[in-house]
Amino acid sequence: MSLLDVRGVAKHFGGLRALDGLDVRVDEGEIVSIIGPNGAGKSTVFNVISGMYGPDEGDVGFRGESIVGLQPNQVTRLGIARTFQNVHLFPNMTVLENAMVGQHCRSSAGVVGAVIGTPRQRREERRIRERAQNALSFFGPRLAGHRQDQLAFALSSTNRRRLEMARAMATEPRLLLLDEPTGGMDPSETLELRDDIVRMRDQLGLTVVVIEHDMHVVKGVSDRVIAFDDGRKIAEGSYDEVAEDERVIEAYLGTRHEELR
């Protein structure tokens, strides 16, 4: 049984068919890259999986159960976390607080507990803080120390991306959906992130699906590559197989064969 099973999902926006009968399967412990030209429906898949859009047709299964119709927070609770193409943080919360919000779905204190400050609530609050710090420490010194008390909007664009990933990891997911995580990063940062993505699986045991444009990253991390165009899957396989595929090359019109390698 695969961890994530997207079967025949279609999503229309007015006359636009953003997704058109799409099948994606992801197994536990895999790193899968999704590539494709702009408007191919890559982010839309993420939105459907994470519950932000309901699919018009088809089904999304996670660990053998359908998650269609669940609210995004319920999906997150089940173990799917995501980041966004154009980073969405809580800009006026500190770095640590951002990550602590990620722990929200793994904690349970209610109004009474919070107001009275029961021992259980205080233990839980400590645990939230520890785990959030753990998630931040994944990026080494990048989000550590004094930065934890800094407001998120004061971070550099690269650190914002890292924080967004840390916040997603703080929700303790099984499956992590990364939407163009290297967007806006310089080459050395991109390389660093490539290693980070591999570490997410090797150290934390996460399954990762990543939408990515940078072919170095795609080549470096992927067990499997899926190419999209016009809301459909046009190729799937190892990096080399997909890079050789005629339809993929055609979809990236104007991109020469050599560059894809």
């Binding site: 107001v115 009275i116 050395s188």
Partner: protein
């Protein structure tokens, strides 16, 4: 000297001056002395605009986190700005003189001989105009100088001035405190209508300057003792956690505050206690609305519904209205619930109603939410006064004979006793707000306020936390309603008692104090509710001043008077965090290059 800025500042200052005269504020306040016979509240109103205009026009620029000290010559800019402000008023006076005061008065009712006498200082119109222009120039220059001074000089002066003015404005309150404590007060207030004695005012000013300066030195020393690493000036309320040992300063402050809060009604007498009680009610309402608007970011314009619910349900629960209303001679069941139990029940009922109101508006945001809640508020008011529900709520006549809450024979309707009841509830509400703010729930609310969709995707159930915000806000607001019912003894929803203006006033309290700030709500209520209550002349200008205050706040200080620490950082302290960051960046790079071979690049 920047001519355009000067003219613009002068025009604004002048317009404010003319406006204050035309709406009648200056005329009304011309007999309210603040200091001796030479400074009246009207005088203060005339002094402030040029000072502020001068100060604003010479606002020091902050460059790369460093505040540049202004050269003395900028006082010239300020003086010119003040001059322009005064000139606008002087031209206005000239026009009145040329056209004739009686003609002008037919349109602008407030342009009275008294006003002209105030403005001319007993001289001829032209002499008065000259004095005003020169005075305004001097004041503008003073404002500019004040602004360009270093903080440690400016702060004591401002604090001293505010202290003197506050004591002057509170001339009906403070003397009775002195009398109760049997402290000699002749040096400060000789007779109550004439404001402060001049020498007394001077002493107060010097005292406040001294205290401010002393406190600053003390703080500076403790900061030094804490070690060079903490060289940044301690941020208020920012880092109580990290400090070791018993924070004696904090303990002393709390004890002093507690004693003052408990002793206040005894010292200040029934009139002031009555005002304080009203302030307390608005603090309760403000704290409740602060949860909805400040924490969760849901703009609720129908908040008065919860106040009405609190008041009416308290009346129904404690009295026998329900039974008699249906015409039953022999009550089926007695509803004479104990008032204190009733207060708790009322909060529960209001929380439920919060859920009911919250459910249909879950999908709405911002403007749409505001409009719908506005509708809910009106519906509540109409239902309460309707003939249809007359048997229960008494229709236009309302409900009378509301049971007073009492412990033994200690009834709480008496203003001085009522204060304690409200104080207790306020402390409770403050505690709840404070605890929620930094909890998992508070974080969920903040996240939702920042970005609802993303909060949802991060695992926060927006449905649940919106409803929770409505319920919590409603419960706390209903407490305000319940004590309001106790205070009045009878209720009627006709008139403006539960009208939309109450919602707006509470919102103004929250916004003026600072959205999301507990201390802000208290300060907001004191300023917007307490001050007008004590200055009886002020009553008819209340809404005028609310409007103006809100406009100025939104434009100049959107984070409020006593902002939530988060929102302060958000709006003002970017510089500081940037500085800290650049300072730490060097160290960070070192660490980064050791740990990761990729090294540089996190900029």
């Amino acid at each position: 000297m920047n001519l355009r800025r000067t003219i613009r500042g002068g025009a604004m200052g002048g317009t404010v001056l003319v406006y204050l005269c035309l709406v009648g504020l200056v005329g009304t306040f011309s007999d309210l002395s603040l200091i001796g016979t030479w400074l009246t509240a009207a005088g203060l109103l005339l002094v402030l605009p040029p000072v502020v205009a001068g100060a604003v026009m010479t606002r020091p620029r902050v460059q790369a986190g460093e505040r540049r000290t202004m050269a003395l010559s900028t006082a010239g800019t300020g003086a010119a700005t003040g001059f322009a402000s005064g000139a606008v008023l002087a031209v206005g006076m000239g026009l009145v003189q040329v056209i004739g005061i009686d003609t002008v008065r037919r349109v602008f009712v407030s342009v009275s001989p008294i006003l002209m006498e105030t403005l001319t200082f007993g001289l001829s119109t032209w002499g008065g105009a000259l004095v005003i222009v020169i005075g305004a120039a001097a004041l503008g220059g003073a404002g500019a100088l004040l602004r360009s001074m270093p903080r440690q000089i400016r702060r004591p002066i401002v604090v001293g001035t505010v202290a003197v003015v506050a004591l002057g404005l509170l001339q009906r309150v403070v003397p009775s405190i002195f009398d109760t404590l049997s402290i000699e007060r002749d040096w400060l207030y000789r007779d109550i209508t004439n404001g402060l004695q001049t020498t007394g005012a001077l002493i107060v000013f010097l005292l406040s300057v001294g205290v401010t300066e002393g406190l600053r030195r003390l703080q500076g020393r403790s900061a030094k003792e804490a070690g060079p690493a903490d060289a940044l000036p301690p941020e208020e309320g920012a880092a109580p956690e990290g400090r070791r040992g018993v924070p004696w300063g904090g303990v002393v402050r709390v004890v002093v505050l507690a004693v003052a809060l408990v002793a206040l009604p005894q010292l200040a007498g029934p009139v002031v206690s009555e005002s304080l009680g009203t302030v307390g009610i608005y603090v309760l309402l403000g704290l409740g609305l602060n949860i909805v608007v400040g924490y969760a970011g849901l703009l609720d314009l129908g908040y008065v519904a919860f106040v009405a619910v609190g008041a009416y349900f308290f009346a129904l629960l404690t009295g026998s209205h329900l039974i008699t209303a249906f015409g039953l001679e022999d009550p089926l069941a007695s509803l004479h619930v104990d008032p204190f139990v009733a207060i708790a029940l009322v909060a529960g009922i209001a929380a439920l109603i919060g859920l009911v109101i919250g459910a249909p508006v879950l999908r709405l945001r911002g403007d749409y939410l505001a409009i719908v809640t506005l509708g809910f508020g009106e519906i509540a008011r109409v239902l309460l006064t309707s003939d249809w529900l007359q048997p229960v709520f008494g229709g236009a006549r309302g409900l009378g004979d509301i049971t007073d809450a009492s412990i033994g024979s200690y009834g709480f309707r008496h203003p001085q006793h009522f204060y304690y009841l409200v104080l207790a509830l306020c402390l409770f509400a403050v505690f709840v707000s404070w605890r929620l703010q930094d909890s998992r729930i508070g974080r969920a609310w903040t996240a939702m306020r920042e970005d609802e969709q993303v909060a949802d995707a991060t695992g926060v159930s927006t449905v649940r936390y919106k409803l929770l915000a409505f319920a919590m806000g409603g419960a706390i607001g209903s407490l305000g309603g319940a004590v309001y019912a106790i205070k009045l003894g009878s209720l009627s929803a006709s008139g403006g008692t539960f009208g939309v203006l109450v919602s707006v006033t509470v919102l103004a309290v929250v916004i003026l104090g600072g959205l999301g700030s507990i201390r802000g709500v208290i300060v907001g209520a004191l300023v917007l509710i307490g001050l007008p209550d004590l200055l009886s002349q002020f009553e008819e200008y209340r809404l005028l001043v609310y409007g103006a205050a809100l406009m100025v706040m939104m434009l100049q200080r959107p984070q409020g008077l006593v902002p939530n620490s988060r929102r302060t950082r958000e709006l003002l302290e970017v510089d500081r965090s940037q500085d800290r960051w650049t300072g730490a960046l060097a160290a960070d790079k070192r660490v980064a290059s050791e740990v990761s071979p990729v090294g540089e690049g996190s900029g």
